[in-house]
Symmetry: C2
Subunit: 553 residues, 2 copies
C-alpha cells in the first residue's frame, strides 16, 4: 500500500524522478480538459466564462499543497455550479457584479465550513449519503443542467430556434458523442497504445472549442447571430471579494449544502481511485484541502469548486503519480491567461452548451439503478425519489431529501431487529432459537435473544416485541434478555430498558440480563440500570436457566 505521507507536502519531500514524466503528461492533459470545462461550468453557475478559468488556477494549487489524493483534480464541477446558480438566483441577476461577488462569497463560506469540519475532524460526515441516493442526486442534477442549456444550444427558446446556432450546437453534440464512443477504438486501431488512445479521446472538447473558434472566425458566424463569449480579460485575477454584509446570512444555508455536497462528490471520486492504487486518503486532510481550495477560489475571482471525477479519472489514467500533476495544471491555466486571450472571444456559446450536455450525460450511472433495483428495491426507490426531488423541488431540497432518504432507509432497516425465543438443547448447556431447534422451555422463564445493537431507532420495536412474547407466555415470571449479539446500547435504549424494568416489576415480572458484552457492561455500570434491575445479571444463559427454571425436566 502506497501510504501517502500524512505530513504537509509529503509527496514533495519524497518525490521520485521516475514520477516526473507521468505527472507532467497528466498535468498537460488535465489542463486541456480544464479550459473548456472551466468555462462551461462557469456558464452553468451563471458567471462569465473567464471566472471558470480563474477557479481552475488557485484551487488545484492549494489542493496539491494540502490534499492527500494523488489524482484528484479540483476545480469547477457541473453539479456544484448548478447549486451555485440555484443559491444565487434569488439574490442577484446573473452577469451582474453583485452576482460575481456573491459567488465568491459562497465559495469563501463553503470553504470555511469545510476547513472547520476538517479541523474538527468530522470527516465521517462523508458517510451520510447512501450510494443510490448519491446516484439519484446526480441523475436529477444532470437533467436539470441539460435542460438549462437547451436554450443556449439552440440559440433561442423552443420553438424559436436560431438556425446557425442550433446547427453548431447539435453538430457539436454529435461530434462529442462520436468521440466518446468511437474515437478511442479508432485511435487504437490506428496503432495508438490503449491508455494513450483513451486519454486522447478526452481532449475532444478542447479540439472542438478550437474548431468552433476557427469556424466562427472564418465564416463570421458571430455576425449571423451566433452568440460568442466575447472579450476575455487577459491577466490574472486580483482580489475580487467584496463584503456585502446583508447577504452573509442568506448565503449560510446554501454554503452549508454546497460544502457538504462538494465534500461528498470529491470523496466518492477520490476513494474509487485510491482503491485502485491502494492509496490511503486522510479524510480530514481532504476536508482541509478542499476547504482551502474553495477559500482560494473565492480570493481569486472564482466560485465554489470540488474534485471532478471525470477529470480525476483522466488524471489517473494519464499517469499522474503525485499532486505535482495538479500544480502543473494550475501553472498551464495561469499561463493561458497571461498570454493574449483575444482568440477566445469568438468561442461560440452553443459549442460550450454542447460540451456541458455531453459531460453531464457522462455522469449518469444507470448501473447503480439497475443493480439496486434487483438487489434492494428500497434503495432503488430512494434513488428515484432523490432524482425526482431534484427535478421537482430543486437542487437544495434534493440534498435534504437525499439525506433524509439515506438515513430513513437505514433506520427503517434497523427498526425491526431479529429477536429469538431461546430454549435449551436437552442435556447440554446450549440455547437456541426454538423455531429452528427442538429445544426445551420452562413456563416460568422467557429467554429472548436480541440480534442487534439497541438504539433509539429500534428500542420501541424491541419493547413491543417483548410485550407480545410476554402475552404469549403468560406464566413467565422471569424475562431474561440474552445480549450476546448486542454491540452497543445508546442512552435512548437505556431509558427504554429502565422503563421496561419498572413496568415489568409492577406486573410482577422480573427482568434479567445475560451474556452482556464487556464494553456494553462497562457502559451500563455508569447508569442505574444494574442497581435498579428487578432481576439479576448472569454471565451465561446457562447460569440464568439453572437459577430460574423449575428444573422439572
Amino acid at each position: 500500500m502506497v501510504s501517502m505521507n500524512p505530513r504537509l507536502l509529503g509527496w514533495l519531500r519524497a518525490y521520485r524522478r521516475d514520477d516526473l514524466a507521468g505527472d507532467v503528461g497528466a498535468g498537460i492533459v488535465v489542463a486541456m480538459m480544464m479550459i473548456p470545462q472551466g468555462m462551461a461550468y462557469a456558464l452553468v453557475a451563471g458567471l462569465p466564462p473567464v471566472a471558470g478559468l480563474y477557479a481552475s488556477i488557485v484551487p488545484p494549487l492549494l489542493y496539491a499543497l494540502f490534499g492527500t489524493s494523488s489524482s484528484q483534480s479540483v476545480g469547477p464541477m457541473a453539479i456544484i455550479s448548478l447549486m451555485t446558480a440555484s443559491a444565487l438566483a434569488p439574490l442577484a441577476s446573473p452577469g451582474s457584479a453583485l452576482y460575481g461577488m456573491l459567488a465568491a462569497q459562497l465559495a469563501l463560506v463553503s470553504g470555511a465550513v469545510l476547513l472547520a469540519c476538517g479541523l474538527l475532524r468530522v470527516g465521517y460526515l462523508a458517510n451520510f449519503f447512501s450510494r443510490p441516493v448519491m446516484s439519484g442526486f446526480t441523475l436529477g442534477s444532470a437533467v436539470v443542467i441539460s435542460l438549462g442549456q437547451v436554450r443556449t444550444l439552440l440559440g433561442g427558446a423552443l420553438p424559436h430556434v436560431h438556425g446557425p446556432s442550433a446547427a453548431l450546437g447539435v453538430g457539436s453534440i454529435a461530434l462529442l458523442l462520436f468521440a466518446r464512443r468511437w474515437l478511442a477504438p479508432l485511435l487504437r486501431r490506428l496503432g495508438m497504445p490503449c491508455g494513450a488512445a483513451d486519454v486522447a479521446a478526452r481532449l475532444a472538447p478542447m479540439v472542438l472549442v478550437l474548431g468552433g473558434i476557427a469556424l466562427v472566425a472564418s465564416l463570421r458566424l458571430d455576425r449571423m447571430g451566433v452568440q460568442v463569449i466575447g472579450a476575455v480579460p487577459s491577466g490574472l485575477p486580483g482580489l475580487r471579494l467584496a463584503t456585502s454584509a446583508a447577504h452573509w446570512q442568506e448565503l449560510l444555508k446554501p454554503s452549508l449544502l454546497i460544502g457538504f455536497m462538494s465534500f461528498l462528490i470529491a470523496m466518492s471520486g477520490a476513494q474509487t481511485l485510491a482503491l485502485k492504487r491502494a492509496e490511503k486518503l486522510h479524510t480530514n486532510r481532504e476536508l482541509v484541502g478542499l476547504g482551502l481550495a474553495n477559500v482560494g477560489s473565492a480570493l481569486s475571482g472564482g466560485f465554489p469548486v470540488t474534485g471532478s471525477l471525470s477529470r480525476s479519472a483522466v488524471n489517473f489514467a494519464a499517469g499522474a503519480r503525485t499532486q505535482l500533476a495538479g500544480v502543473i495544471t494550475a501553472g498551464l491555466l495561469a499561463g493561458a491567461l497571461v498570454l493574449p486571450t483575444g482568440w477566445l472571444a469568438l468561442l461560440p456559446l452553443p459549442v460550450l452548451a454542447a460540451t456541458i450536455i455531453v459531460a453531464v450525460l457522462g455522469l449518469l450511472d444507470w448501473s447503480t439503478l439497475r443493480t439496486a433495483w434487483h438487489y434492494d428495491r428500497a434503495d432503488a426507490l430512494a434513488l428515484l425519489a432523490t432524482s425526482g426531488g431534484v427535478l421537482l423541488l430543486g437542487v437544495e431540497a434534493g440534498v435534504v431529501l437525499g439525506l433524509l432518504l439515506s438515513l430513513g432507509t437505514m433506520i427503517w432497516r434497523e427498526s425491526r431487529p431479529h429477536i429469538a425465543v431461546l430454549g435449551r438443547i436437552p442435556h447440554t448447556e446450549h440455547f437456541r432459537n426454538i423455531d429452528r431447534y427442538s429445544a426445551e422451555t420452562d413456563p416460568n422463564v422467557l429467554l429472548l435473544r436480541v440480534d442487534a445493537g439497541l438504539f433509539f431507532g429500534n428500542i420501541e420495536a424491541v419493547s413491543e416485541r417483548i410485550e407480545e412474547e410476554l402475552a404469549a407466555h403468560r406464566a413467565a415470571r422471569h424475562l431474561v434478555l440474552v445480549l450476546s449479539a448486542v454491540n452497543a446500547i445508546d442512552s435512548s435504549a437505556l431509558f427504554g430498558l429502565l422503563e421496561l424494568n419498572r413496568a415489568l416489576a409492577r406486573r410482577d415480572v422480573r427482568l434479567h440480563l445475560a451474556e452482556v458484552k464487556g464494553p456494553v457492561l462497562d457502559r451500563l455500570r455508569a447508569s442505574t440500570l444494574l442497581s435498579e434491575l428487578s432481576g439479576r445479571l448472569f454471565l451465561s444463559t446457562a447460569n440464568a436457566w439453572n437459577a430460574l427454571a423449575r428444573h422439572d425436566t
Copy 2:
C-alpha cells in the same frame, strides 16, 4: 397484556360497566385541566383564548373514535403552539382574522400529513428522534415559551413593570409552584388517598383561574390596568376555515414539521403510559387518530393539537380505562361553551401567563441530561446542542437540527465497526481474534471478521481497515471476509464490495467470503458479486483455511 381491539371503536364494542366510574372521573378532571391549558396554549400560539377551548372539543372526540391509547389526552399543547406561532409570525399579525384562518389551515395540512403517513403505514418515523434530542428540544422550547410570557406576566416589558399585574403574575407562579410541590403531600396528610391527592393537586390551575377572576371582579383590577381576556363568544364554533390559496405553499414546510413533532410528542407520551398497563399501541392507527384530530381542530376554529403527556398522565392516574374519558372531556368543554361565558371575560392574563410558565417548567427533564452525561457524553452533547439550536435558531431549525443530531450520532457510532483478524486455535476448527487468543496464522491468508452489518455508513471505514490489514500482511494473497456477524448488506455496501473485489484482483489478492448468513446470501445471489468474486464462497472459516492455508503448521 390488554391488547386493544384494533378494530374501529373496539373499546366501545367491548365496553365493561366496571370501567365507567374511572372514565367519568378522569374525563371530568382532565376537562378541568383543559380549560386553563387550552386558553393558555392558545395565547402561546398567538390566538384568542377561546380558540384553545374550540381546539379541546372536536380533537379529543375524533381521537377517541380513531386512536388506540386509552389514556391519551389530545388537545392544545405548549410546544406545538410555539411552533404554530413561529410558523405564522412571518405571514400574519397575531389577533388578526387572517392569523386565525392560517392557524386552522396549518392544523388542516398537518392533519392531512399525519393521516397520509398513517394510511401509508410509515409509523416507524416515530423512531427518528433520539430520547436525549427530544429532551433537548423540549428544554429549548420551554425556555423560549417562558421568555415569551414574561411581558404578559409582568404587565409590561422590563424594566417597565405594571405593579398589580406583576403581583398577580408572580403570586400565581408562587401558588402554582407551592401546589405542585406541597399540595399533594398536604392533602395526603389530611387523609386523602394517595392517588386522589395527586390528581387534586393538578386542578390548582383551574382553581387559580377561578380565584383570579374573583379577585379581578371584586377589586376591579381590570380598571387598574390588569389585562383580562375580554368577552368570550358563547356557543360552539362553526366552520371557520378560509382558503387563502397564496398561503398553502408557505404553510407546507411548517405543517410537515408540526405534523412530525406532534406525532413524536404524542407517541412518546402514549408509549410510556401504554407500557405501564401492557397496552399495545397501533402506531399507524395513532397517526390516523392524531391526523383526524388535527383536521377536526381545523374545521372547528382551532389550531394544531397533539397528545399532552401532562394531561394524559393525569387522565391515566385519575382512572381512565378507555377512550370514553376523552369523549366525556370533550362533552364537558362543549358544555362550558354552551353555557354563558361572561364570567370568563375577567380572567387576568398574568394568571394565564403564570400557568403557562409553570406548565412548561414541568416539561423540563433534567434527569435525561444527567443520565446521558454519565452514560453517553455524545448523547448529552446532542441534547445541549438541540436546546441551544431551538434558542438561537428557532423552533423549526431546532427540529431539523434534532433530526440531524439523532441520526448523526447514530451514524457516527456505526461508522467504525469492530473488525478482528482471526487465527486458528491449534488442532481445532475454531477461529478467534488473534489479539485475544494465541492462534496460528498463515502468511498466505488473511482472515477478517466484521462485527456489524455493512451499509453506506461504514463500508468506507471497512474498506480502509481492510487496506491497513493488507498493508500489515503483505505476503497475503487471499483475503477471507468472515461474515458470521453481518446481518445485512445494503446496496452501497454491495458496490463497495464489488469495487474492493476488482481492486484487489488487480493487485493479485483474491477475495473470499465465509460464513455468509442465509438471508444475506439470498440477497447476494440477486447481484453479480458472487459471480465476479475473484475467490470463493466458503461455508465455514475452517473450509477456507483448509483450502487456502499452506498447511505447514
